[in-house]
């Protein structure tokens, strides 16, 4: 039996200052300690928490093969999504503050990137500040949701969540916790 897993599309949802970036960096750190992996962090604001991550320019994506962790800072998200779709394979792609990248109605290129993630062997992580910042359609495509404390409720996206009951239950547990950085990951499929 093959030990190969399916590629994952994950949404990390949490308000400001609840530890999403720290969680992600730990995830990346643990990942590259255990296996050689390409990781691409897409950022629009040159987030200070990622300053230990080397930068890559957009036109270098086509020539990137070897495992490494890079961040790409851009003010043209649509162009970068197209380049990722064209050139990036075998990579964990992280969208820091994904609401800067994805419209509420989800661009065709983003949808294509998600649908092609298996063919391109990409895992994708989208980070959002809350449920309302997350495009409703995305909840139908993600394989897992990591919930941190949010300022809004999952009920705002209820009709787009197949397992709304489980997500709401997990979210309530996170909200009730005294730990500011409490988080739970729910596998959707």
């Amino acid at each position: 039996m093959s030990n190969v897993r399916m590629n994952l599309v994950t949404a990390i949802v949490g308000g400001r200052g609840v530890g999403k970036t720290t969680y992600l960096l730990k995830l990346v750190n643990d990942l590259i300690e255990s296996k050689n992996q390409k990781v691409l962090i897409l950022d629009t604001i040159d987030h200070p928490s990622y300053r230990m991550v080397a930068k890559i320019e957009a036109d270098m994506l086509s020539g990137w093969v070897k495992p490494a962790v890079y961040r790409l800072v851009t003010s043209d998200p649509d162009d970068i999504i197209r380049r990722v779709q064209l050139h990036v394979k075998n990579t964990l792609v992280v969208f820091e503050d994904a609401s800067k990248w994805i419209n509420k109605s989800m661009q065709k290129d983003v949808r294509k990137m998600i649908f092609d993630s298996k063919q391109r062997n990409n895992d994708i992580i989208f980070m959002f500040h809350g449920f309302m910042a997350t495009p409703p359609e995305l909840f139908r495509y993600v394989d897992a949701v990591t919930l941190f404390k949010t300022g809004d409720q999952p009920a705002s996206r209820k009709r787009d969540m197949i397992n709304y009951v489980e997500i709401e239950k997990a979210w309530k547990k996170v909200i009730a916790s005294k730990n500011r950085y409490e988080n739970v990951t729910i596998q959707i499929y």
């Binding site: 030990n3 190969v4 897993r5 399916m6 590629n7 994952l8 994950t10 400001r16 200052g17 970036t21 720290t22 960096l25 730990k26 995830l27 990346v28 750190n29 643990d30 990942l31 590259i32 255990s34 296996k35 990781v39 629009t44 604001i45 987030h47 200070p48 928490s49 230990m52 080397a54 270098m60 020539g63 990137w64 093969v65 070897k66 490494a68 962790v69 890079y70 003010s75 394979k89 075998n90 964990l92 503050d97 391109r120 062997n121 895992d123 500040h129 897992a144 990591t146 397992n163 489980e166 239950k169 997990a170 500011r180 950085y181 739970v184 990951t185 729910i186 596998q187 959707i188 499929y189």
Partner: protein, 197 residues
């Protein structure tokens, strides 16, 4: 294993192997330049509410969007106000008419306006009931002509709206100005709605 699974270990799952896809390009980076990711200085355990990094995180996670010029916002605000004005131009005449006239009166008023508009002898030739209807029609037309916003009225409403659009962050002053300006412009348009004769 049943799905959905709570407390799914994302980190462990990501560590598992996936099916590697052949890269159809050759690495163009010089090997010596491939950087090492070193998060050893990043303290994952000690992030606290008052720590420097979490303060930065709070400050930086929602950056100020790129500013749009106030001129552009004024244009957008003016377009919005004009739209609302046009909506009023569409609805208010109907509302006025229904309030002022019965159907028979309105039909009669149209005939009278066509026949006597601009003529000075209407007072002498019209019967008393017709005079009332005729005058009501004249008033109605004056009110309807004043419904569309003037350029000045558009500017009056769009300027504070542009300010609100520029910095929508609990600024009471521009909102109050908008409410006041809009009320100043709209309220007279409702007067005929309450006219009885």
């Amino acid at each position: 294993m049943t799905y959905p699974e709570e407390n799914f270990d994302l980190a462990s799952e990501l560590k598992k192997q996936t099916r590697i896809i052949q890269e159809d390009t050759v690495e163009t980076f010089e090997e010596s330049k491939t950087p090492e990711f070193d998060a050893s200085d990043f303290d994952f355990s000690k992030i606290s509410e008052n720590s420097e990094s979490s303060k930065i995180d709070e400050k930086e996670q929602e950056p100020t969007p790129e500013p749009v010029s106030l001129d552009q916002l004024r244009k957008e605000a003016a377009a919005t106000i004009e739209f609302l004005g046009n909506l009023g131009s569409l609805l208010l005449p109907v509302m006025y008419r229904k309030e002022l006239f019965s159907k028979e009166e309105y039909d009669r008023a149209k005939v009278l306006i066509d026949k006597y508009s601009g003529k000075s002898d209407s007072d002498e030739t019209l019967s008393e009931p017709d005079k009332i209807i005729y005058r009501k029609m004249l008033d109605y037309k004056i009110q309807v002509d004043s419904i569309p916003f003037s350029d000045e009225e558009i500017r009056l409403c769009s300027e504070p709206l542009a300010e609100i659009m520029q910095k929508y962050k609990k600024r009471a002053s521009p909102e109050l100005r908008l409410l006041f300006a809009f009320g100043t412009v709209m309220v007279p348009r409702f007067f005929p709605f309450f006219m009885k004769s």
